[in-house]
């Protein structure tokens, strides 16, 4: 039996068919009906899915039912997808943290965690600050002046997200030719400002959102 003889394969009950398409399929079915080539069931299915050239009440009912069904299906999908988003306890655990800066000695770097990410808080020495500032910004792989990476008036405090921008390892503090950070995974070298100087990392170390609550306390997040 040739495929052109007609098929019910694409006539889905409930799917609105264009009047022209329906007429064509109806014509095919009627021919087959007349030729006696359909089973009773195929006849049933054909007859119930044929319609006239004008949209009928059946067409309206099909579209209305399918639309309401589609809205229902979409609505049912919302909670299933939304439940994977961070839940209330995770969001609460990711709330801002406060860090007391007073115990951090000159030149000391501490590591805190916020939202599961390591944060370096570096109490930079005068020498480190000067070296970070006296740099030809244009020659940097990711040009950024040091002033853009510290809070005004607090240039001795460098607060950085300690995740290498290459493939995500934690760089080691107080390492490398700039006394900054060195990533052991693939050899990226950062300065005390957290800017990439050598190695495969494309970007400077990211800055977390933070603000100074006082000279000795910051809130990260």
């Amino acid at each position: 039996m040739s495929g052109a003889g007609g098929s019910r394969g694409r006539l889905h009950a409930g799917k609105f068919t264009q009047p022209a398409q329906v007429r064509l399929q109806a014509a095919r079915s009627l021919r087959k009906l007349a030729a006696g080539g359909l089973t009773e069931q195929e006849r049933d299915y054909t007859v119930t899915t044929m319609s006239s050239a004008e949209p009928t009440r059946r067409d309206f009912l099909y579209i209305a039912t399918a639309s309401v069904g589609a809205v229902g299906a979409a609505a049912a999908l919302v909670p299933l997808i939304a439940q994977m988003n961070p839940d209330a306890s995770t969001i609460a655990a990711g709330a801002p943290i406060e860090v007391d800066l007073s115990p951090i000695a000159d030149g000391q770097v501490i590591k805190v965690f916020w939202r599961g990410k390591p944060i370096y808080v570096n109490h930079r020495t005068k020498k480190q600050i000067e070296e970070a500032e006296n740099v030809d910004v244009a020659k940097l792989p990711d040009p950024q002046p040091d002033s853009a990476r510290v809070k005004p008036g607090h240039s001795q405090w460098s607060v950085l997200i300690g995740i290498c921008t290459h493939l995500g390892c934690i760089p080691i503090a107080h390492q490398g030719p700039y006394d900054g950070y060195f990533c052991p995974c693939h050899g990226s070298i950062y300065d005390t400002s957290g800017r990439i100087r050598q190695g495969p990392a494309p970007l400077n170390l990211a800055l977390p959102p933070y603000e100074f609550l006082s000279d000795t306390k910051i809130r990260i997040g």
């Binding site: 052109a4 098929s7 049933d44 439940q83």
Partner: protein, 423 residues
């Protein structure tokens, strides 16, 4: 289904696909043009409803499994976290818990339909037995799922049900400690129940495939209980059965939604909101409603081993139904005496369920015993005897005749004019 599908794809891609993996043809012949008896009533929609509930339980279950922790110290709190912190967690939990109840409700109705209309008779014996297997799998899955929240009821249900196996002579105790993974219900038990609770629904899916396959080999039964003889006796599955199933599924979901949104804890036991305490058994310990009839049978027998055997027998006996019922007539429509015993059986089942929720004392015990006797007598005495002595009503000549003659003048009389159809 017999032989090749009549599906003829027009689309070139579909023709290519059909030659290599004829899934579309399978769906076409099984669920679109599949010949369905034209006299099916709404009791036949529960198969589709059960398929939907299985999918719903799997989807909500998999999603809940993303947030649940199967450890005795963490499980209860992880469920509370789902209820309070996870986005829509409350909805997913209530859907899953009430979904289990709706699943069993649909299953029992489905089974009662089968018993009333003789759907278990030749050639549908294997279909029926697969159904009994599905019921057993559902019971196991439901039980293990109930243990997971690790509330008081969870823990003590686990203890009581696993202790049933200690009734087995000689090896009973070994089996119980093997099930527990320890000397009492504990963390190993919880962990393995979680694993099996995730696994069994997919086993159920596999057996459902066999169940539908067996169904399609024999064809559906119908309210008249006589096989389709000509094409006039059947209609295409789509759109008739599809829409009928879909409609009643929506009605069923309204009931489901009523529980989920307005009375989500009605079917549960408040004691399960108390974290499990191995030192204290709740005073009023009961399983969920869908196990109550079997629970009543278990408690009705005063002997431990015999009680456990009665519990097992009450389910296994269903598998023998095709051979216990000796009647040559399938449908209860034409068996007036059988019908009365059947409805008595339904009342007995519901009565056993109610009695299972009551404390085992006084008249409750008496009636539980009477009802248990009727339950087993129905299968072992009433059905075999009834088939031999009953005077059945005459069967219609065909399905089409039974449908067309309902309330109409007999064949040969002029048909009333058809109602004017609106354009």
């Amino acid at each position: 289904m017999s032989g090749h599908s009549t599906y003829q794809p027009q689309n070139a891609f579909m023709q290519w696909m059909e030659r290599r993996l004829p899934i579309a043809g399978l769906v076409y012949s099984s669920f679109i043009v599949y010949p369905t008896p034209r006299n099916l009533n709404y009791w036949w929609t529960f198969g589709g409803i059960l398929s939907f509930m299985l999918a719903a339980q799997i989807v909500t279950g998999v999603v809940l499994a993303m947030h649940y922790t199967p450890h005795v110290d963490l499980a209860f709190n992880s469920v509370e976290q789902i209820m309070r912190d996870v986005n829509y967690g409350w909805l997913l939990r209530y859907l899953h818990a009430n979904g289990a109840s709706m699943f069993f409700l649909a299953a029992y109705i489905h089974m009662f339909r089968g018993m009333y209309y003789g759907s278990y008779k030749d050639p549908r014996e294997v279909l029926w037995i697969l159904g009994v297997i599905l019921l057993l799998l559902m019971i196991m899955t439901g039980f293990m799922g109930y243990v997971l929240p690790w509330g008081q009821m969870s823990f003590w249900a686990a203890t009581v049900i696993t202790n049933l196996f200690s009734a087995i002579p000689l090896v009973g105790e070994s089996i119980v400690s093997w099930l527990w993974g320890g000397y009492s219900v504990g963390n190993p038990t919880l962990n393995r129940f979680y694993s099996l609770h995730y696994l069994l629904p997919f086993v159920i899916v596999g057996v459902v495939v066999l169940h539908v396959w067996a169904l399609h080999m024999a064809g559906q039964n119908n309210p008249a209980g006589i096989e389709p003889k000509t094409e006039r006796d059947t209609v295409a599955f789509t759109p008739y059965a599809t829409i009928k199933d879909g409609f009643f599924l929506v009605v069923f979901c309204i009931l489901f939604a009523w529980f989920v949104f307005y009375i989500p804890n009605f079917l549960g036991h408040p004691d399960n909101y108390i974290p499990a305490n191995p030192a204290v058994t709740p005073t009023h310990i009961v399983p969920e409603w869908y196990y109550l009839p079997f629970y009543a049978i278990l408690r009705a027998i005063p002997n431990k081993l015999l009680g456990v055997m009665a519990l097992g027998a009450s389910i296994v006996i269903l598998a023998f139904l095709p051979w216990l019922d000796t009647s040559k007539v399938r449908s209860a429509r034409y068996r007036p005496l059988y019908r009365q015993f059947f409805w008595a059986f339904v009342i007995v089942c519901i009565g056993l369920g109610w009695l299972g929720s009551k404390p085992p004392e006084g008249n409750y015990v008496l009636f539980a015993r009477i009802f248990t006797v009727y339950y087993f007598a129905y299968f072992l005495v009433i059905l075999p005897v009834l088939g031999k002595v009953e005077k059945t009503k005459p069967l219609p000549n065909s399905i089409a005749e039974s449908v067309l003659l309902e309330g109409k003048p007999p064949l040969g009389a002029p048909a009333p004019p058809p109602p004017l159809a609106k354009a």
